[in-house]
Every structure is written in C-alpha cells, then in structure tokens.
C-alpha cells in the first residue's frame, strides 16, 4: 500500500516511529501531565465551591486564577498531548499566533461592547425608580 507520511521527496516522517526506551520516557511524561491536569481541575472545583462571591476582591482574583489555570491546562494539552511542542517552530507559530492577534482583540471588542450596552441600559431603570 502507498505510504502517505512522505515529508521529503523520497523520505518518510522521521518522528513517526520511536523505540521501546523512548516509549517508556514518553509514557512517564504522559502520566505526569495527567496527574497535573487532574490536580488543577480538582483545585478549580474546590475554589469554585468554597470561595464566596460576596467577597468582591477575593472573587475577582479567583476569576483571574481560573483563567490562568485554564491557560496552563490548555498549554499542557496542546504542547504534550497534541505534540505541538515537538513540531517545527514555524508550524507552532502559525497555529498559536492567530489567537494572540484575533482572540485577544475579539475579547477586548466584545467585552467593551457588552459593558457599553449595560451602561446604556442601566440609566433607564434608575430613572424609572426615581419617577416612582
């Protein structure tokens, strides 16, 4: 059967195979990442259950902690599970850089828009209350 893992004229992808010893090393890393991801999820849930929202500053920091921990989890999934950390640098860049450009921009635009709409809505109810 014709092989489809050709990357250079008559050569095949070199990293498509590894030895038994490499396998042991890779499996060790997989186990480590698994435990780490599970631990992070557990910590997140505990934070969600025990930290009260009434505590404004504490909750604000918790929210940022959630986002940070999510990014750490995402990083490990992409870099280790999806092997992106082992790929050539140009492949890594073309996959990751778009998010720093478009998603950060979209978050900024979206949340600014949302807050602005909230501002437009809020005065109406305040005026209503005064009128009553």
């Amino acid at each position: 059967m014709e092989r489809d893992d050709l990357i250079v004229n008559d050569q095949y992808a070199l990293d498509a195979h590894h030895s038994e010893e490499d396998g042991v090393k890779i499996r060790k890393k997989i186990v480590f990442v698994t435990l780490l991801l599970t631990a992070i999820t557990f910590v997140e849930v505990m934070m969600g259950v025990f930290i009260k929202r009434a505590d404004t500053i504490g909750w604000e920091m918790t929210k940022w902690a959630f986002i940070l921990l999510t990014m750490v989890k995402a990083g490990y999934i992409v870099m280790t599970f999806m092997h992106l950390g082992d790929e050539r640098k140009n492949l890594r860049n073309f996959i990751i850089i778009p998010y720093f450009i478009f998603i950060l921009y979209l978050i900024f635009i979206g949340l600014t828009e949302g807050n602005s709409v909230l501002d437009l809505r809020t005065p109406d109810t305040v005026i209503e209350q005064v009128a009553e």
């Binding site: 059967m1 489809d4 990293d15 396998g23 849930v45 009434a54 790929e87 492949l91």
Partner: protein, 345 residues
C-alpha cells in the same frame, strides 16, 4: 522525539519545493488547519457568551448553584458532576495519547487496547452530557413570577443552616422558586389539570379515550392544584443572597403569585435559571461541543475497526491514529474552556 522537526534546514532548501516546509505530512497539516478554524469558531461562541453576560442587567446564574445535581445521589453536590465529566474527558484524552504512542512503536495490540478505552470514555462523556441536559431541561423545582410589589423578610441560606434575615422587595416579574419536591408535585398537578381540560373540550372520539383513561385521576389532580400550597419558598435560588421564606412571609408572596407564570426547567423560550441568554448559550455551546464529541466517537470507532482489520499494519505506520488523536485532544481542549467559562467563572 528527535526527528526532522529539530534539524536546522536552510530556508532556501526548506521552501524550495519537494518537501514539507513544516515538517509534517499533508494529512496532519490539514487536520491542524481544521482545528485552527474550529478553535476560532469556539472562541467566537465563548466571546459571544461573554458579551451577553456583560450586557445583561439581571444577575447571572452562579454555576455551583445551578449545577449541583448528581445521578442517584440527588442534589447538594455543587459542580461535582461536571468535574467528573471533565475528569472522564481528560482520561479519555490520555488513553488517546497512549494509543498514539503505541502506534509509533507499531504495536497493534496497544493501539487496539487504548483506542478502545478512548471510545468507552467518549460514550461515558456523551451519556453524562445527556443526563446534564435532561437535568437542566427539567429543572430542579421550578419557579413563578410575582405580580405587583411585595416586601418580605427572608432568612439567608437554607432551613438546615439558616443565616441572618434580610428584607427583599419583589417587583413585577421577579422570580420566586419552589422547593424541589413541592415543585415536582405542583408540576404534575398542573399537567394533570391540562389533560382534564382537554377532555372537557369534547373532541368527540378522542376525548372519550382521555376521560376513560384519567377519570378519577384527572379530577383529583385538578382539585389538588388549588389546594396545593408550598411550605417553603426560595428567593435568589441561583444567584447571590439565596434565601427562604416560611409562614406569614410566605403567605404574602403567595398572594402576589402571577397567574400562569410558572416556569419549570429550561427551554429556548423560557427558563427558571435567569436571563434567557444563559439557557440559550448553554444549549448551543455545550450542544455544539457534544456534537464534536459525538462525531469524534464515530471517527474513533471507524479507525478502531481499521486498526483491527490491520489496515495500518500493512501501511507501515499509524499516522491515522495520530490525526484522529489531534481531533480528540482538541475536543478535550475546548471542554477545558467551556468548563471554566460556563461553570466556574
């Protein structure tokens, strides 16, 4: 993994044709292209959720107060079930990496074993999501809307651990929540009442069937709906300052109950949890993700059968497992974000 990826190749040779400049095969490249665009889709959806959440005046439901049910065990387990779902998906992602790793060693039994477990994990996740949806749609007790204005003194917390008292002013369309058991009883009585009404409409033939089926039963339920009165009502069930009322204070609210304003659970036009956008985004985003998991499981099954048949053994490499692995990890990755923004923040 030392390989072509780490070698430093001059730019001229790299982009001069005849080789893959990115050091990956066509199939893997195309999978990455797809994932990049799909990730942007999910990013757009989650940001749209954020926009809605920021522009809504009414308090947004709190994850751990909405999702606190557990199959068999009942309620009172905030976020535990979602955490379990997340764990299942992470584990199935791990078994997938192990399948890919076994593939790199051309070890067919290993691929079969780990890919098999991945499929099992996928089914567990889908089943969990079905339960979660069903729980969300049926709701946990239901609510009604207030008509007019009423001021009550309520106790913060729940009857088992009461806190301080606080005064609430409820206005038109503010929601007041039933206690779980009473809510279900009330919903039953309402539906039984509906059936009795249908019977009275006298559709000739059909109405006969209805009456024969629920004669005494429907009549009973109709009477009991008017007699049904809750012993406890809950305020702010899904938001801050959750409180309950009993006795005389409850009486005040019950008098201001809006006619036909009961809401049980959630659908695309009404929900007991709060702003409508909340339910709509929940259905759309988790549904869209669930559909990805579903197609992922199908693809995994197809490749699983191909592995058993020995297709990749003949081909000499298991790159197909690696490609569907990328897709499966992506599904896990999306869930990590959905989990954070829907349930935690």
């Amino acid at each position: 993994m030392a390989g072509a990826a780490e070698k430093d190749i001059p730019k001229k040779e790299l982009w001069g044709g005849g080789r893959s400049p990115f050091g990956v095969t066509y199939g893997k490249m195309m999978m990455w292209y797809f994932l990049v665009s799909d990730a942007l889709t999910f990013g757009g959806l989650l940001i749209a959720y954020g926009v809605s959440r920021h522009e809504v005046i009414f308090p947004w439901p709190i994850g751990e107060q909405v999702f606190e049910g557990m199959p068999v065990l009942g309620s009172g387990y905030p976020l535990m079930y979602v955490a379990l779902m997340t764990f299942i998906l992470i584990v199935s992602s791990v078994t997938m990496v192990l399948a890919v790793e076994a593939g790199h060693r051309n070890h067919k039994p290993g691929v079969v074993r780990w890919l098999g477990w991945t499929i099992v994990g996928g089914f567990f996740f889908l089943g969990s999501q079905a339960w979660e949806w069903s729980h969300f749609i049926h709701g946990s007790g239901g609510a009604f809307k207030v008509a007019g204005e009423v001021t009550v003194t309520a106790t913060l917390g729940s009857p088992s651990s009461p806190g301080e008292t606080m005064t609430f002013t409820l206005k038109d369309d503010d929601m007041v929540f039933f206690d779980g058991d009473f809510g279900h009883e009330y919903e039953h009585a309402m539906h039984a009442g509906d059936h009795a009404d249908e019977g009275h409409d006298a559709h000739g033939h059909e109405a006969h069937g209805h009456e024969a089926e629920g004669e005494g039963h429907g009549e009973d339920a109709h009477v009991s709906l008017e007699n049904l009165k809750p012993e406890i009502l809950i305020l702010n069930k899904y938001t801050e300052n959750k409180a309950f009322v009993q006795g005389a204070e409850l009486e005040k609210i019950w008098k201001h109950k809006g006619e036909d304003t009961e809401v049980f659970g959630a659908n695309l036009s009404e929900n007991e949890y709060g702003p409508q956008q909340y339910a709509n985004f929940f259905f759309f985003v988790t549904g869209f993700h669930g559909f990805h998991v579903f197609s992922g499981v199908l693809i995994n099954i197809i490749v699983f059968l191909m592995v058993i048949k020995g297709v990749f053994e003949k081909r000499g490499h298991y790159e197909m497992v690696e490609k569907i692995g990328l897709y499966w990890h992506f599904v896990d990755l999306v869930w990590v974000f959905v989990f954070t923004f829907f349930y935690l923040v």
